[in-house]
């Protein structure tokens, strides 16, 4: 070799020659701190352990350990002394109950084993909100949170209930004697019995007020409906009847007005002639926007003008403020809406009264009342009144409130003017707070009443007119707690208990011809004859205002001119709710904290979402560090005069330029080690309960470390999520000879001629004809990415939580992940047309476009019938079953991780640590496995895996085995629907179907023949038991 040539191993060596020299000198870049220990002479001399001692101790402990190991421990088996009639050990019981925390409501079934609630399932009998979201699925873990309030407190001291009763009664009497107000502050009360009780309680006092307020307020919206229809209540929306849906910032698939509509919406999304069309206008990229057929990015101010423009277009009028940059889009939308007539639906997400007035007016123009909107039956889940709340805060500060009782609200955390709330509460002599947590509000009140978890309480609910639901305890109270209703009864001198009270109340008007036991068994009751729920005792002040509103009715032109006066800022903030966190009521739940946000795929954080264009202007950067983890700039943000420093910023494709998003529900204090100090509190920034505001942003020092579970944003031109348009789907054949069909089957050229990928076999096939063959179909058109399935999987399969640091190292343990992909502006076709070089093409393909299409794809173990993992396992720990499952025997696994390495889907998860070992402090945040109380949530049918073994989706083999067994015991074949997986039964939209394809009457058998069906990475020939249905968007 010539001397003048120089070789270098990497660019680093060329640019920084010192670095390589250093590295070659030392094998480990970080020093091992031996000197620190051995160099410290003092410490060494002080220690009295000599070499002899050390050997003695070691010898002794070895001997002791050996001796101790000789005896097998005796295990006891202690039966019930008196066996409860309904419990057979080993058999699960299900109870119908309801979840309501002031924000979310669902009718659910709770699975209990030996008296422990361990899982939430949907109540299919419920006509409204029968599907639990991710939070409600996770709520069962909050029951076993050891940081729950375990006893009541009076003036910061632990107290017993008799002291509490005495103190509160004295306080109430003093307030009454002093002529001061007694106020009940609650979230929206949906319980007819509780409302009656509160009214009766209030009737005892001369100056009693009941104020309801919602954490994520729709007070403005409610006022608009009051003006329009005379009733301060939201209508019920029937998305299943909608052909064209236009949403202005309403994230109705995520969090909106409490009514869960995802299931209804999904029924119209089946590709075919009748498929609905969904157009979304929004600032933040939401779940709803991701599912939309067409999505437009607007700032909140632009949304107002667009709405006025739409009204003008539909009505032919020319109200002021309808000048918009989106006039063409609005024109074509108006045309579509008109064509759909009463099968169209326009919804908005704003809490601005004028915006809602316009939306109502637009829907009136469409005459969709009775089809897609119903005002006969109201949604009763949001009834909060911000005006009343604001005057309460003012009254408290003025000192005119003598006692305040709070339930289901956390005013110090949830409201923007929290300093005023805090000051006000401190001025109230008797402030009583019902809570499960020693949280923000609990710090400033005089009496903290430790409250039952919803799984320990009795209750009822009327989520919508005529729809009733019951709540029953599924476990005895774990701690010294009481529910609000029982306390209220005690304080109003009512001796009975709340259950009897409720029964009596139901007996009077609600039950009608049905009986209590049936209603309790079903958990829900539809009543047509039932009287409307008692109204809350409203105060006198606001009634005058309401009268005025009624007389004026709805003035659209005034609303439009009000909206035109709102001047947009350079940057606008829109707060939003993550599907994992909502308003943060269940924040101290490790399952929820580790549930990746469906859009950003970030866990354990909230952050400012920024568009790429704004990021460039402001100098905000996101970068991947050497191990692939994501780091981002920190920014200081100022909103409504309040500043939060060091907020992490995340560049979000699809974010409207000029807007930013920040998730609510983070930045909790005092709720437990899982949630405290995670993220920042966005509630504190907002004013007048609006969801948008102007924001100013400065880039701050330092970098934030995100724990993001997905690093790739795009599919790089591969067929991972197969997508097509409705036109193509209807008019073209899936496969064609040109090889560019919309669901082209992969073929290989073989010596036998062209063969489909699933026919080319290297190995012999298993016998899949005899017995069952379990298959799962995932419809990508139905999946909206909500994440309920991921939580259900956690609960069913004892999946560990690993914490933020480990997620950053890509060691998350989710058996089921929902991959999210963005479309890129660069495609094969574009590259060909523009003549971009191959390198540049792939480079650009990595970047998502600024207005991307979003795809969600749930991926779990694909249960390949020619599984790459099975062939490489040296100990045959992972094997195939003749029912099409890929089995994993944990006790056989020696942890080589060859299988994970060979898996093309990357669905195998390795236990790097003993995640259930309570002594390891780094994992003790995962209380579902690390303390005795938390462990009660574990599913006893599924092994808790140990360190050093591989695990993955088992297709809920325990449920399959149970379904088969029940059939065998009954002496009948397994019917379709006998076996469901946890993810399937948690899916509100029916995206997941599961069954036996050898049963030709099964749904999954039909779905396997569907022309939309494809296998993930079909070309590798793994022949999975899981298949997907092509996503079809309704656009030309």
């Amino acid at each position: 070799m010539a001397e003048n040539k120089k070789y270098w191993r990497g660019v680093e060596e060329l640019t920084d020659s010192n670095l390589t020299q250093e590295l070659s000198a030392k094998e480990f870049p970080t020093e091992i701190p031996t000197d620190e220990f051995l160099g410290n002479k003092e410490a060494l001399e002080e220690s009295s352990t000599s070499r002899r001692d050390f050997l003695k101790y070691m010898g002794f402990s070895t001997a002791a350990a050996t001796l101790a190991a000789c005896e097998t421990p005796i295990s006891e088996s202690i039966p019930y002394v008196i066996a409860p009639e309904e419990i057979i050990p080993g058999v699960a019981n299900y109870y119908a109950t309801s979840f309501y925390d002031g924000h979310d409501f669902a009718s659910i079934l709770v699975k209990t084993r030996e008296g422990r609630p361990i899982k939430v399932e949907h109540n299919k009998m419920a006509a409204i909100n029968g599907g639990a979201n991710a939070r409600i699925h996770a709520s069962v873990l909050n029951l076993y949170d050891a940081t729950r309030m375990q006893s009541p407190m009076v003036n910061g001291e632990k107290a017993d209930w008799s002291t509490v009763n005495k103190t509160v009664k004295a306080g109430l009497d003093a307030a009454e004697a002093g002529g001061k107000q007694i106020v009940m502050l609650t979230s929206t009360v949906i319980s007819p019995s509780a409302q009656k009780l509160i009214n009766e309680f209030g009737a005892q006092y001369s100056n009693f007020k009941h104020v309801s307020v919602d954490a994520f307020s729709f007070s403005g919206k409610l006022d608009a409906h009051k003006a329009a229809s005379g009733t301060r209540a939201l209508p019920l929306y029937h998305f299943n009847k909608a052909k064209v849906i236009a949403s202005f910032g309403a994230d109705f698939l995520g969090d909106w007005i409490g009514q869960s509509v995802a299931g209804d919406y999904a029924t119209t999304r089946k590709p075919g002639k009748g498929m609905s069309r969904h157009i979304q206008f929004e600032s933040n990229l939401s779940l709803t926007g991701s599912s939309a057929d067409k999505r437009y990015k607007l700032t909140p101010t632009e949304m107002n003008t667009a709405l006025v423009a739409l009204y003008n277009e539909l009505s032919g009028s020319s109200l002021a403020g309808g000048k918009t940059n989106f006039s063409n889009e609005i024109k074509s939308l108006a045309k579509e809406l008109k064509a759909a007539g009463n099968e169209a639906l326009v919804v908005s997400g704003s809490n601005n009264k004028d915006v809602e007035s316009l939306t109502i007016a637009i829907n009136q123009l469409l005459a969709n009342e009775g089809t897609t909107i119903s005002n006969d039956h109201h949604n009763l889940l949001r009834k909060g009144n911000d005006t009343a709340f604001n005057s309460l805060v003012a009254d408290m500060n003025a000192g005119s409130v003598g006692a305040v009782l709070m339930d289901n609200v956390n005013p110090v955390y949830h409201f923007a003017n929290n300093d005023k709330v805090m000051a006000g509460l401190k001025k109230v002599k008797t402030s009583v707070y019902f809570t499960e947590k020693n949280d923000e509000t609990a710090q400033v009140v005089s009496v903290v009443c430790a409250k039952h978890n919803f799984l320990e309480s009795w209750g009822d609910a009327m989520p919508a007119t005529g729809h009733y639901a019951l709540q029953q305890p599924t476990i005895q109270p774990l701690f010294d707690t009481k529910q609000m209703e029982d306390c209220l009864m005690a304080w109003s001198g009512n001796d009975g208990d709340y259950l009897d009270y409720m029964k009596a109340n139901w007996g009077v008007g609600i039950l009608g011809s049905s009986d209590w036991s049936t209603a309790l068994h079903d958990g829900v009751l539809m009543s047509t004859t039932a009287p409307v729920m008692e109204e809350a005792a409203t105060e006198t002040e606001s009634s005058e205002e309401e009268m005025e509103v009624e007389t004026t009715g709805m003035d659209v032109s005034a609303s439009a001119s009000n909206l035109s006066k709102i001047k947009g800022a350079a940057l606008e903030l829109a707060v939003y709710q993550k599907s994992a966190m909502g308003t943060g009521n269940l924040a101290n739940n490790p399952w929820l904290q580790e549930l990746p946000d469906p859009i950003s795929r970030v866990t354990w954080d909230n952050y400012l979402t920024v568009s790429a264009a704004d990021a460039l202007e402001l100098g905000i950067e996101n970068r991947n560090v050497s191990n692939g983890a994501l780091n981002g700039s920190k920014v200081n943000i100022t909103v409504n005069g309040k500043t939060i420093e060091g907020v992490p910023a995340l560049i979000q494709p699809g974010q409207a330029k000029g807007t930013m998003g920040l998730a609510l529900g983070y930045g909790r204090q005092g709720v437990g080690k899982v949630a405290d100090a995670v993220g920042v509190n966005a509630f504190a920034l907002m004013k007048d309960a609006q969801h948008t505001a102007a924001i100013t942003v400065d880039v701050a020092e330092g970098e934030h470390e995100f724990a993001c579970t997905q690093l790739a944003h795009t599919m790089m031109g591969r067929k991972i999520v197969n997508e097509t348009t409705l036109d193509t789907f209807l008019n073209e054949s899936p496969s064609n000879s040109r090889g560019d069909g919309w669901n082209q089957k992969v073929e290989y050229a073989t010596f036998k001629g062209p063969m489909a990928a699933d026919e080319v076999n290297l190995w012999d096939d298993f016998d899949h004809e005899t017995g069952h063959m379990w298959n799962m179909s995932i419809d990508l058109n139905m999946c909206n990415g909500c994440g309920a399935c991921v939580i259900a999987c956690h609960a069913e399969n004892n999946v560990p939580v690993v914490g933020k640091e480990e997620v950053r190292k890509s060691r998350d343990m989710h058996w089921l992940r929902i991959d999210r992909y963005y479309s890129s502006d660069m495609t094969e076709e574009v590259a060909e047309e523009t003549g971009v070089s191959s390198f540049a093409k792939f480079d650009k393909m990595e970047d998502p476009s600024a207005s991307p299409d979003v795809f969600f794809q749930p991926v779990m173990c694909q249960h390949c019938n020619h599984a790459p993992c099975e062939t490489v396992c040296p100990v045959a720990a992972t094997t195939h079953s003749n029912e099409g499952l890929n089995h994993m025997a944990y006790n056989r696994c020696i942890g080589t991780r060859y299988c994970a390495n060979n898996c093309p889907y990357k669905v195998r998860r390795f236990n790097w640590f003993q995640y259930h070992d309570g002594s390891k402090s780094e994992f003790d945040i995962n209380y579902s496995m690390n303390d005795d109380l938390g462990r009660m949530v574990l599913n006893p049918d599924v092994t808790v895996r140990s360190r050093g073994v591989m695990e993955k989706c088992s297709l809920c083999v325990q449920r399959i085995q149970l379904g088969k067994l029940e059939a065998k015991k009954a002496g009948r074949p397994v019917k379709d629907g006998d076996v469901t997986t946890a993810c399937q039964s948690a899916c509100d939209t029916g995206a997941i179907s599961f069954g036996d394809v050898n049963d030709h009457n099964s749904e999954v058998f039909e779905l396997k023949k569907d022309k939309r069906m494809y296998h993930l990475l079909e070309e590798v020939g793994t022949q999975p038991s899981i298949f997907y249905q092509t996503k079809v968007r309704n656009r030309a």
Binding site: S77, V81, D941, V957, N998
Partner: protein, 412 residues
């Protein structure tokens, strides 16, 4: 070892003594058979009557002395009829017991009733010393094999001694100096130890034996076959399931419905023991432990109010590791497997012990051999057609053929 022999001998002696005793009894009593009467009494009368104590009904010891046989016969067959016929005694008894009606027993033959009455007349049976658990066939064969080994060893020893004697005699005949057996052995060992081949062989042999023994020991870790812990209550399955023929599922009702076959609650015991307050072998001592658990006052025949129940800490015998999922109902209800297949002759056990090894090999072996009843269970109907194609119409379908050996069927 020696204990076992003694046991066997003593058992033999004891049983022959018992036999003799019963024979004497037979000789004395000619009117009825108290042994048969006892079992009839237990199955028909014991829920309300005791011999020596008033329970629901009067104590029955010596009842034949109080009433004549004819009256007793008609009372037992149909006491209602007797009362209606205006029998003063019958009405008096009826009123004495607050009008609680005694069940009629028209099905009992004259002989049956005679036998029962004979039993009530017989002096309380002598308490039989609880016999230790009968050694199963396995341990019996073990015994004989060891005995054979000892005999063989003894014979060999005698042979060696004999040969040594002969050799010495021969030496003496030859005129060589005689040597004792010990001296002889000493010389032989010395010569052998000088031979490296023999030493190597010996070392190898020892090593192999050690390895084999430690392998056997290691494999046995965690196998608790024959585990027979002492239980908090000396509950005898022999009496309950054997003598009284109570169905296993009556107490262990979970076995048919659930993955676990539950240890019965004390409340289940109370179904019978509210009335049966004295055991045949342990008297009141053990049964009182149930009462202590649930808070029952046997004198009053009532539950004590506001009693804090005391759980009974049974010692678990069959403890499958958590890594394997076993479902009782799968085997008992779906598979029609008898309890005894895995648990052994429980109805003969006074104290239960673990009969089967509960190892995976044992499970797998049974799954290989057990035939699945594919014909009569409709669950298998479709599968059966396919299986016939695969294995032939008359093939025996065993559990492994329908996937019973797959890892994920038990490990998840």
């Amino acid at each position: 070892m020696r204990k076992r022999l003694i046991d066997q001998v003593s058992r033999l002696v004891l049983s022959s003594f018992l036999m003799l005793f019963t024979l004497t009894v037979f000789a004395e009593e000619t009117a009825g058979d108290p042994a048969k009467g006892k079992s009839l009494f237990n199955s028909n009368c014991a829920s309300c009557h005791k011999l020596d104590k008033k329970v629901v009904g009067p104590a029955l010891a010596g009842i034949t002395e109080k009433r004549d046989a004819e009256w007793l016969f008609s009372w037992i067959r149909n006491n209602q009829e007797l009362r209606e016929s205006g029998d003063a005694d019958a009405i008096a008894i009826f009123e004495e017991y607050n009008g609680s009606v005694m069940t009629n027993f028209p099905q009992l033959s004259d002989e049956d009733i005679t036998n029962i009455l004979a039993y009530t007349d017989a002096a309380p049976a002598p308490k039989v010393v609880p016999v230790e658990r009968g050694s199963g066939s396995a341990s019996a064969s073990e015994d004989t094999s060891y005995t054979n080994l000892y005999i063989l060893g003894a014979v060999l020893l005698v042979l060696v001694l004999l040969l040594a004697k002969i050799k010495n005699t021969l030496k003496q005949v030859k005129g060589d100096p005689a040597s004792t057996l010990i001296e002889e052995a000493d010389v032989m060992t010395r010569t052998a130890l000088k031979n490296p081949r023999i030493v190597t062989m010996l070392v190898l042999l020892v090593a192999i034996i050690l390895l084999q023994q430690s392998y056997v020991a290691m494999v046995a870790v965690g196998i608790t076959q024959d585990y027979q812990p002492e239980q908090p209550i000396k509950f005898s399955h022999r009496i309950h399931a054997g003598d009284n023929k109570i169905d296993c599922n009556y107490c262990h009702y979970g076995a048919r419905k659930s993955m676990v076959s539950n240890i019965p609650s004390a409340s289940v015991c109370m179904n019978c023991h509210t009335y049966i307050q004295e055991g045949a072998e342990t008297g009141t001592e053990e049964i009182n432990k149930i009462y202590a658990a649930v808070g029952f006052d046997p004198e009053e025949g009532k539950y004590i109010e506001d009693y804090e129940e005391q759980p009974i800490n049974w010692v678990r015998i069959h403890d499958l590791p958590d890594l394997s999922y076993f479902n009782h109902s799968q085997h008992v209800t779906a598979g029609n497997v008898k309890c005894q297949t895995c648990h052994g002759p429980v109805e003969e056990m006074d104290e239960v012990y673990q009969y089967s090894p509960l190892t995976m090999g044992w499970c797998v072996n049974c799954h290989r051999e057990t035939e699945v009843d594919v014909k009569s269970n409709a669950y298998y109907s479709d599968m059966h057609e396919k299986l016939k194609e695969k294995y032939g119409a008359d093939a025996k379908i065993t559990v492994d053929m329908i996937g019973g050996l797959e890892c994920g069927k038990c490990h998840y």
